[in-house]
């Protein structure tokens, strides 16, 4: 079966542009996570979905960041009015269980590298 996929793999945006990053989790996976990885750093949690419900968005750095997963499968991370400090790799991960109650391996996608000029 296919793993987690993300698109685009690379995105260059001018400061002030809006961007949308897509994540296709493994089919049937209940939990979906977004992480932000700055250059030379470990990934940092952004937000978590259980099916279509966004249960934790405590890691979103500002109200310019918005995520959705309307049908409980594909998720989109949107960044409005991009700033240079938004430049990072955005990683998506999915898991087959309800993350709050159980801990299973998170399967990561290849990431989207965002560069804001």
């Amino acid at each position: 079966g296919a793993g987690v996929s993300q698109s685009p793999r690379y995105k260059v945006a001018k400061r002030g542009q809006d961007v949308a990053l897509r994540c296709d989790p493994i089919s049937g996976h209940v939990s979906l996570f977004w992480y932000q990885q700055a250059l030379g750093q470990g990934p940092e949690f952004l937000t978590y979905f259980q099916n279509e419900a966004q249960l934790d968005k405590s890691g979103l750095p500002s109200d310019r960041f918005f995520a959705e997963r309307p049908e409980g499968s594909v998720s989109t991370l949107k960044i409005q009015r991009t700033q240079q400090e938004d430049s990072a790799v955005y990683l998506c991960a999915s898991s087959p269980v309800i993350a709050f109650f159980q801990q299973e391996t998170q399967y990561f996608g290849p990431g989207t590298r965002l560069l804001v000029l």
């Binding site: 470990g42 934790d56 990561f108």
Partner: protein, 112 residues
């Protein structure tokens, strides 16, 4: 708040030798999970090994094993018989309730 610390930004090992990567963490929880993830230059994060905190026995996966010291809040990764394909960034991660908290990473190079 939980934190994860990897004190070795870079490590090097000779092919076929053994190397140990260090990780410490801070938490007030008694039940949690610890992971080591590998991130090759292609950037796809891959699970290497996981450890449940309630288990006293150290996890092993082929050439990879951990030394889990719960009281000391230490979770090191040992790679035996190192191979060229082991070269990558290695991240230690903690989890309680789903989200992963990562350390800063250790870049491992393997010399032929």
């Amino acid at each position: 708040a939980q934190t994860v610390t990897q004190s070795q930004p870079e490590m090097s090992v000779q092919e076929a030798e053994t190397v140990t990567l260090s990780c410490t963490y801070d938490t007030s929880e008694s039940d949690y999970y610890l992971f080591w993830y590998k991130q090759p230059p292609s950037r796809q994060m891959i699970l290497v090994i996981r450890q449940e905190a309630y288990k006293q026995q150290n996890a092993t996966e082929n050439r990879f094993s951990v030394n889990f010291q719960k009281a000391a809040k230490s979770f090191s990764l040992k790679i035996s018989d190192s191979q060229l394909g082991d070269a990558a960034m290695y991240f230690c991660a903690y989890s309680k309730g789903g989200k992963l908290i990562f350390g800063q990473g250790t870049e491992l190079s393997v010399k032929p």
